[in-house]
């Protein structure tokens, strides 16, 4: 696969520290705070922001989301959109921002996601095909869907509970280098993960992300404009992107052992002109251990069914053979709803800039970032580079 390469540069990132719940805060307010942090990080004037990409949720308002956010932020973007790719929304925003800039529709695009989280969450009403054909049979929520994936992976390849749990243990270990992670100061080994309660067999509690409140924002500019601007940090470049959407309900998925990230990652790497072996940081979406396992296999890091042996032979820390989810991944850092997917982008930017504080890799030049929405349904892959 060849063709044109996307051009664009990430010039600012901002992230709220995850918390279990918020009280009295609004999603709009948290989006604004993450945006402010990203702007401060960029060194740009606020008036440079002329594009806006937001997620579908602002909590209080189901419609007119970009207008609501623009009004709240006091900006008048020349390009705005909702990006609704579930957990892949964050990475999906990055190439859309670059594309809008290349189309002449904006010069500096704010991409922002976030959510508040009340102590007692409310239930959404009963509608759409999943609510009609899955929920009435006791399949509420993502846990049952990802459990179906794990069952089939174990059946087809003979993979074991220990192998899946070992990936969560890696995330927890990496989270010990990140004071912002929800599980900072709380390491746990594979045995501890296997000892956690069974939620939806064969899924254990600690193979599932911890929902948290939080937010992430990223500012994207054109590569040349970024180099001409006065910035606080060197730009991080978009080198390649790939995206695919396949289904919504797990009952309609084309496969249970490979997903749309496979072609998406292949396209992103092809656009960047590199193989997976050139990647320094794997920043891979990990809502569940099985999602991370299948992504490792779909990336071509090992043969299908072999993620366990692959992981067992490697040091996956920031000083190891292959760095994997150095911020702890969502399994160790926490998942702030849709912002959880953007945390993988933010971590990659920090590593490529050399500002990842106590967990900085020695020489990170290229990162592969993935996003995943619903159940292996909505996929985005990005290759980010220190060099243009």
């Amino acid at each position: 696969m060849s063709g044109t390469r996307p051009t664009g540069a990430i010039v600012g990132v901002g992230e709220l520290t995850p918390t279990r719940t918020t009280s009295g805060k609004t999603t709009l307010g948290m989006l604004a705070e993450a945006s402010r942090l990203a702007l401060e990080d960029s060194g740009l004037d606020r008036d440079r922001i002329d594009g806006l990409l937001v997620g579908p949720q602002v909590g209080e308002t189901p419609q007119h989301v970009p207008a609501t956010v623009a009004e709240y932020l006091g900006i008048t973007p020349r390009m705005s959109n909702v990006v609704d790719l579930g957990g892949a929304s964050g990475p999906g925003m990055i190439w859309r921002a670059a594309a809008a800039i290349n189309a002449g529709m904006a010069t500096a695009v704010l991409c922002v996601l976030g959510n508040h989280r009340e102590p007692v969450p409310s239930r959404s009403p009963n509608r759409n095909p999943i609510r009609e054909f899955d929920v009435p049979f006791g399949a509420s929520g993502a846990n049952t869907a990802y459990a179906l994936l794990k069952t089939r992976h174990m059946h087809d390849f003979g993979t074991t509970d220990e192998q899946f749990a070992s990936l969560a243990a890696v995330s927890r270990a990496n989270a010990q280098s990140n004071p912002d992670a929800i599980f900072y100061g709380k390491p746990i080994d594979t045995a501890g993960i296997l000892a956690s309660p069974m939620i939806a067999e064969p899924l254990h509690l600690l193979e599932i992300v911890m929902p948290v409140a939080g937010g992430d924002a990223v500012i994207v500019m054109g590569a040349e404009a970024a180099e001409a601007a006065t910035l606080r940090h060197a730009p991080v470049y978009l080198r390649g992107a790939g995206e695919m959407v396949t289904h919504r309900a797990m009952s309609q998925a084309p496969s249970y052992t490979t997903g749309p990230l496979k072609p998406s990652m292949a396209q992103a790497l092809a656009q960047a002109g590199i193989g997976i072996d050139r990647i320094d940081l794997l920043s891979l979406y990990d809502c569940y251990t099985v999602m991370l396992a299948i992504t490792i296999e779909d990336a071509g890091l090992c043969a299908p069914g072999q993620f366990g042996a692959w992981a067992a032979g490697r040091d996956l820390s920031h000083t190891g053979d292959v760095a994997l989810n150095t911020h702890g991944g969502q399994l160790g850092f926490g998942q702030a709803d849709l912002a959880g997917g953007m945390s993988h982008v933010v971590e990659a930017v920090r590593q490529l800039r050399g500002t990842a504080d106590g967990r900085q890799m020695a020489d990170a030049a290229l990162a592969l970032v993935t996003g995943n929405g619903a159940t292996m349904s909505e996929a985005v892959a990005l290759v980010l580079g220190r060099d243009r």
């Binding site: 609510r131 929920v135 009435p136 049979f137 006791g138 399949a139 049952t144 179906l148 309660p197 009952s251």
Partner: protein, 142 residues
């Protein structure tokens, strides 16, 4: 534990104009699927156009009501509190004989008796105001 559907107090489906015939079929003890007269694929869940060819020539036909387990999970912590009385219970995706896949819960079987590939058949059960297409192993094991 196994599911006793009559004891469940859980959210039912919300039929739409596209799916009314499916739920009416369940009330009559028939598993009705759509069949595309253009590309001859069976279609589930009900839609206004065929997802294989975008034809709107979708006819309703009676399906065999048989299939095999594509994958399954034993739910210990249900997402909805109404299912707590049944936990741990089995949610499965069935490869229907006609081709489409359907999510359902399994009745008439203990969780330990379920495996990928298990042959199953539809078993209509009343839950609240609705008759739902649950599935059970064939031949029955419980």
């Amino acid at each position: 534990m196994t599911i006793h559907p009559s004891e469940l107090i859980v959210p039912g489906p919300t039929p739409t104009g596209e799916s009314e015939k499916f739920w009416a079929g369940c009330r009559d003890g028939e598993l009705l699927l759509q069949f595309c007269e253009r590309c001859e694929h069976w279609v589930f869940y009900p839609r206004t156009v065929c997802p294989h060819c975008w034809s709107d020539r979708l006819d309703w036909r009676r399906a065999a009501g048989t299939g095999s387990v594509r994958s399954f999970t034993v739910v210990h912590k249900p997402g909805h509190p109404g299912w707590a009385v049944a936990a741990p219970y089995v949610v499965a995706v069935i490869d229907l004989a006609e081709g489409p896949t359907m999510l359902t819960a399994l009745v008439g079987v203990e969780p330990a008796g379920v495996r990928v590939g298990l042959p199953v058949a539809v078993r209509f059960e009343t839950v609240g105001e609705f008759v739902l297409p649950f599935f059970a192993p064939v031949p029955p094991t419980a």
